[in-house]
C-alpha cells in the first residue's frame, strides 16, 4: 500500500472521509487484502482503547473534583442575573434600606464570599483543631485579629441566636490578612464569619451566594468586608447576617 492510501485508510476509519473519497476506499477494501487487514487492526485498537478506558466514564467522581466545581468557581462563571435576583430579593425584603445597593465593590465583595466559603469548607470539618485561638481567650483573639486585619472590631456574641463562639484564626485573603470566627450550635453545626480589610472602603450591599449545600451572605462596609457562611436555608442565613451586621455596627 502506498503511504497516501495508508493515510486515507486511517481517515476512513476515523470518519473523516465522505462522498467520493469514502467510496474510493470502499473499492480499495473490496480488492485489497492488506487494506482490509489494516482497517481491522485500526478498529481492534479503537475497541481495545475504549475497553481499557471507558470504565473511567462510569467511576464515581472523586470528592476533590466535585468540590472544585462547588466551591472555587470564578464569579465570571456565574450568571449575573442570578446575583441580581438575589440582590433584588434582599432589597425587597429589607426594612428601611439597611444596606445600600451599590455596584462599586461588588467584585471585591464576591471575592470575599468565595474565600469565606473556601475557608469554611476547610476548617469547619476539623475536629481537633477547628480554631487557632479558642473562645476561652476571646479578648486576646479579638485584639490579635483586629490588629492583623487593621481595624478594631468586636467579636459578636451570637448566643441568643443559638450559636456559641468556638474561636478564630488568622487567614490570608490574597495578600491581605483575614480573620475567621467559628461558632457552633447545640447540634454541632458550625457557621463561620470571615472578615478582611476593605482597602478602597468600597460599599457593597449584602448579597447571598449558594454553593452546594452552603449559603454565604457577604457585604462591604467601611474599612471591612464581611461574609458569613453555613449550611442552612437562605432565609435563616439572611436573618443571621442581619444580626451579625448590626452587632458589628455595634
Amino acid at each position: 500500500m502506498k503511504t497516501i492510501e495508508t493515510w486515507a485508510l486511517h481517515a476512513y476509519a476515523d470518519g473523516e472521509l465522505d462522498g467520493a473519497d469514502r467510496l474510493a476506499i470502499g473499492e480499495l477494501l473490496a480488492h485489497d487484502e492488506a487494506a482490509r487487514t489494516m482497517l481491522a487492526e485500526i478498529e481492534r485498537q479503537k475497541q481495545a482503547l475504549k475497553a481499557a478506558y471507558d470504565p473511567v466514564l462510569r467511576e464515581p467522581l472523586p470528592p476533590s473534583l466535585a468540590a472544585v466545581l462547588r466551591h472555587r468557581g470564578s464569579r465570571a462563571a456565574l450568571p449575573y442575573a442570578a446575583m441580581a435576583a438575589g440582590l433584588a430579593l434582599l432589597i425587597a425584603g429589607g426594612s428601611g434600606g439597611w444596606f445600600m445597593a451599590q455596584q462599586t465593590g461588588s467584585a471585591a465583595a464576591a471575592g470575599i464570599a468565595d474565600l469565606a466559603i473556601g475557608a469554611h469548607e476547610v476548617y469547619t470539618v476539623e475536629v481537633r483543631h477547628p480554631v487557632e485561638v479558642a473562645a476561652t481567650e476571646k479578648d486576646h483573639l479579638q485584639a490579635w485579629l483586629s490588629k492583623r486585619v487593621g481595624t478594631a472590631f468586636a467579636i459578636p456574641d451570637l448566643s441568643d441566636q443559638g450559636y456559641t463562639l468556638l474561636g478564630g484564626r488568622l487567614l490570608a485573603a490574597g495578600e491581605l490578612p483575614a480573620a475567621q470566627l467559628m461558632y457552633e450550635d447545640a447540634g454541632k453545626k458550625r457557621i463561620t464569619i470571615f472578615l478582611t480589610a476593605n482597602p478602597g472602603q468600597a460599599k457593597a450591599a449584602l448579597r447571598v451566594e449558594e454553593k452546594g449545600g452552603l449559603v454565604a451572605c457577604y457585604w462591604l462596609d467601611g474599612p471591612l468586608g464581611f461574609a458569613i457562611a453555613g449550611e442552612m436555608d437562605r432565609t435563616r442565613m439572611m436573618q443571621l447576617a442581619r444580626v451579625v451586621y448590626e452587632r458589628f455596627e455595634g
Binding site: 486511517h10 470518519g15 478506558y53 470504565p55
Partner: protein, 169 residues
Amino acid sequence: MDFRSQLAAELPHLRRFSRALVGDAALADDLVQDCLERAMLKSHLYDPARPLRAWLYAVLRNLFISGLRRDRRSAVVKTVDDLTGGEGSVAANQEERLSVALIAEALDRLPHDQREVIVLVALEDMSYRDAAEITGVPIGTVMSRLSRARAALQRILEDRGHTVLRRVK
C-alpha cells in the same frame, strides 16, 4: 445551563482523556482538577461557538505539557494498580485487568506526541481538525503522528501479547 454545570457534564470525558494521556490515576485526576480551575479562571477565553470538550482537552493537554517540562527529572513509579486505575477500576476479571494494563503500558511506551494524538482520535473520537487545534499542529502532522502511533501500538501490543501468553503458559 451555566458554565459550571457545563463543566460538570464534561467531567467524565475529561477524566477518561486525562487517564489515557497521563497513565497514573491520581496524577490524572490532579490534572483534571487543575484543568477545571484554569477553565473557570479563563472562561472568558472560551468561544461558545466551539465545542466545550475540545477546549477543555486543549486546556488540560497544555497544563500537562507544561508540567512535563517542569518535572522532567522526576520519574513516577507505576504499578499495575496505577495503570489499571487501581481500586476505582471497574475491570472485573483477571483477564480484563491484564488487557487494560497492556494497553496502558503500550500507551506509556509511545512518544508523547504520538500518544496524545491516538488518544484524542481513537479513544475520544475527536476530528482531525479538533486534534490539530488541541495539539497546536497542522492536520497533516496529526495524520502522520496517528499513522506512526498506530503502527507502534500494534508492534508493542504484539510483542507484549506474546510475552504475556508465554508467562501464562
